[in-house]
């Protein structure tokens, strides 16, 4: 690829010197620093004459490199960038005239190191194949078991399961009382279905090409990439996913047998929505309903299910209180989909950020957050949920930095990362405060014979 005039025009401002590299007669490369000037319109870099034996050969193809870092004492360095040009040298009136016809460059202020690294994954695989062929044994990248499990399952996202299940248990505790053992089994079962979903998602994102197409993965988006990196095989994670689903379903069936078969319909709905989120033939996330599926699964289905296990009946209150939680977890997915949208579009995943404009996504976020907290306030004031749940409004300010980051850094995946973390905190804090609202009501009810209306 020939260097753009704009790239050449910036060289003098961004680099202090050039290094000319060429091959000497004895076959060794030689590299020597030189001053330079650029005539971007002519596409020429004029290099200052070098003295002595280290003379670049006129008429031959050379490599000229411009490199920059800024030392950071006690840390290392930053502001890494380089431009590497190839072309022929000719003697000129004021030095050696270099006519570049090929370029390779990177500037960490223009392309993050994470993205630069991601673009190297195919080369890493080629190299591993070569080393395997040279050594006669399969050479694969490794990660310590604990880290690999954490990465493959995306374990920290389990908060999305714990919040709605604990909320359902808390509502049951308020209305009917609860059993610790049933609570524990519900948490384990729900967690297994969630982990099965996470891992299945990676199976189908690998086979659909979504992982390979995504060069902007973050801590919160882009999947686990364990297959894409070669850390585990597709078969490994398919078995892992099936294992989680098997345990989750077994616990669900056991709970239904023990507490009432009406639980089964909700469990079946949850497991199917979870599996067909990315699995064919439904591939719900590809059809543009991924956010709704997540809202349902990690909102009403989990909360109502956890409530039923304790209370052996369905009720309106756990359904109502789960709605804002469902909206907020869908917003976690919604924001995390923003950096994934080019890769999702390539893989045919019609997520909301793929389908809608930036303005619609940013305004949609604000509207959905406002709706969540308006519902929390309405339900508490109306007495449809316990009144202390109104304390969950205290979490609302966490949405502000997320909104601002979406508005100001929509196209910058790595700048969005803190906002993604904050958005997860928004869901978690709201859920914990709702649960705490029920705990307050329960304590007040236990401690007082006639608690005031705002504590019930």
């Amino acid at each position: 690829m020939k260097p753009e005039p704009e790239l050449l025009a910036k060289l003098e401002d961004r680099f202090a010197h050039a290094v000319i590299a060429f091959v000497e007669e004895d076959g060794y490369p030689m590299s020597v620093a030189s001053g330079f000037r650029v005539d971007a319109e002519r596409g020429v870099v004029t290099l200052e004459q070098v003295a002595g034996d280290a003379q670049p050969p006129a008429g031959e193809r050379v490599n000229v490199v411009f490199s920059h870092i800024r030392p950071q004492p006690g840390i290392g360095y930053d502001e890494r960038r380089y431009v590497s040009l190839w072309g022929a040298l000719q003697p000129g009136a004021e030095g050696l005239e270099f006519f570049p016809d090929k370029v390779q460059h990177w500037d960490e202020q223009e392309m993050s190191f994470f993205e630069y690294s991601e673009r190297g994954v195919p080369q890493a695989h080629r190299y591993l194949e070569q080393v395997s062929a040279e050594t006669g044994r399969e050479v694969r990248p490794k990660l310590a078991f604990g880290w690999l499990f954490l990465r493959a399952t995306r374990l920290p996202f389990l908060t999305a399961t714990f919040v709605p299940i604990l909320l359902g248990i808390a509502v049951a505790g308020w209305t009917n009382g609860f059993s610790w053992w049933l609570a524990l089994l519900t948490l384990i079962g729900g967690a297994c279905i969630h982990l099965g979903l996470n891992v299945a998602n990676d199976v189908f994102d690998t086979t659909s090409g979504a992982d390979a197409a995504n060069v902007n993965p973050t801590q919160f988006s882009g999947g686990s990439r364990v297959v894409h990196y070669g850390l585990l095989s597709l078969r490994d994670i398919a078995l892992l996913s099936l294992g989680f689903y098997a345990v989750g379903i077994a616990i669900g069936v056991g709970l239904a047998a023990a507490r009432g078969w009406d639980l089964l319909w909700l469990g079946v709905a949850g497991a199917l929505l979870s599996f067909f989120y990315t699995a064919p033939p439904l591939k719900l996330v590809h059809r543009g309903v991924g956010e709704i599926v997540v809202a349902l699964g990690f909102g009403p289905i989990m909360t109502l299910g956890a409530y039923f296990v304790q209370a052996q009946e369905y009720a309106l209150e756990p359904l109502l209180v789960s709605i804002p939680v469902g909206i907020l977890i869908a917003l976690v997915l919604y924001v995390n989909e923003v950096p994934d949208r080019p890769a999702d579009a390539k893989a045919g995943k019609r997520t909301l950020p793929v389908r809608l404009s930036k303005d619609a996504i940013v305004n949609g976020y604000a509207a959905a957050v406002a709706l969540s907290f308006a519902l929390i306030a309405l339900f508490a004031i109306a007495g449809w949920t316990v009144r202390p749940t109104i304390i969950a409004l205290a979490a609302a300010p966490l949405a502000l930095p997320v909104y601002r980051a979406l508005r100001d850094h929509y196209e910058e995946p790595y700048t969005l990362m803190p906002a993604m973390a904050k958005n997860i905190q928004l869901h978690l804090a709201t859920g914990v405060l709702l649960i705490f609202g029920y705990v307050i009501a329960l304590i007040a009810d236990t401690a007082m014979t006639d608690p005031p209306f705002f504590l019930a």
Partner: protein
């Protein structure tokens, strides 16, 4: 005292970046900015498998040069520029942990490497690395970094085992 002239060793000790030039399969030079590490005999450079073209090139043609050219990246009282020619080998026998033998030298130049290593789970392929071992055979020194003047040239004697 190592195999290289003292002034060049001083540059290698502190340089945060150097330019490694290798030769590709078409015989064309290709230069990569890398951190040089030096133990008095061998210059070590490490490369992630993500950026491993250079390793392929070295395996095909071990002749390389390493240039220390950036006054900003070197912390010495007297700045000079140097180029070291030599023969390189690639140690990729243990990509996962083998490179950690040069970690003490790396840590001296980039203390933050321990922080990044702690985040290995985030960048697993970046820390699958090969070690390039460069044994110098000839070195060039430009006093005060003046490449418009002829360099001093040193032929390097291999260290006694």
């Amino acid at each position: 005292m190592g195999v290289l002239p003292e002034q060049i060793e001083a540059l290698l000790e502190t340089a945060l970046v150097a330019e490694l030039t290798v030769i590709d399969s078409g015989g064309c030079p290709v230069t990569h900015p890398l951190i040089p590490l030096y133990d008095g005999e061998v210059i070590y450079l490490t490369s992630s498998i993500l950026f491993s073209k250079k390793l392929e090139h070295i395996k095909q043609n071990p002749k390389v040069s390493l240039s220390i050219s950036d006054p900003v990246a070197v912390n010495t009282e007297r700045f000079s520029r140097a180029t070291i020619q030599g023969d390189a080998t690639v140690d990729d026998s243990d990509l996962h942990e083998g490179w950690e033998r040069v970690l003490p030298l790396w840590r001296k130049k980039e203390p933050a490497i321990d922080f990044f290593l702690g985040k290995r789970v985030a960048l697993p392929l970046f820390f699958e690395r090969a070690v390039i071992e460069l044994r110098p055979r000839k070195a060039f020194l430009w006093e005060e970094g003046r490449t418009d003047r002829p360099p001093q040239v040193f032929h390097v004697e291999p260290a006694l085992a």
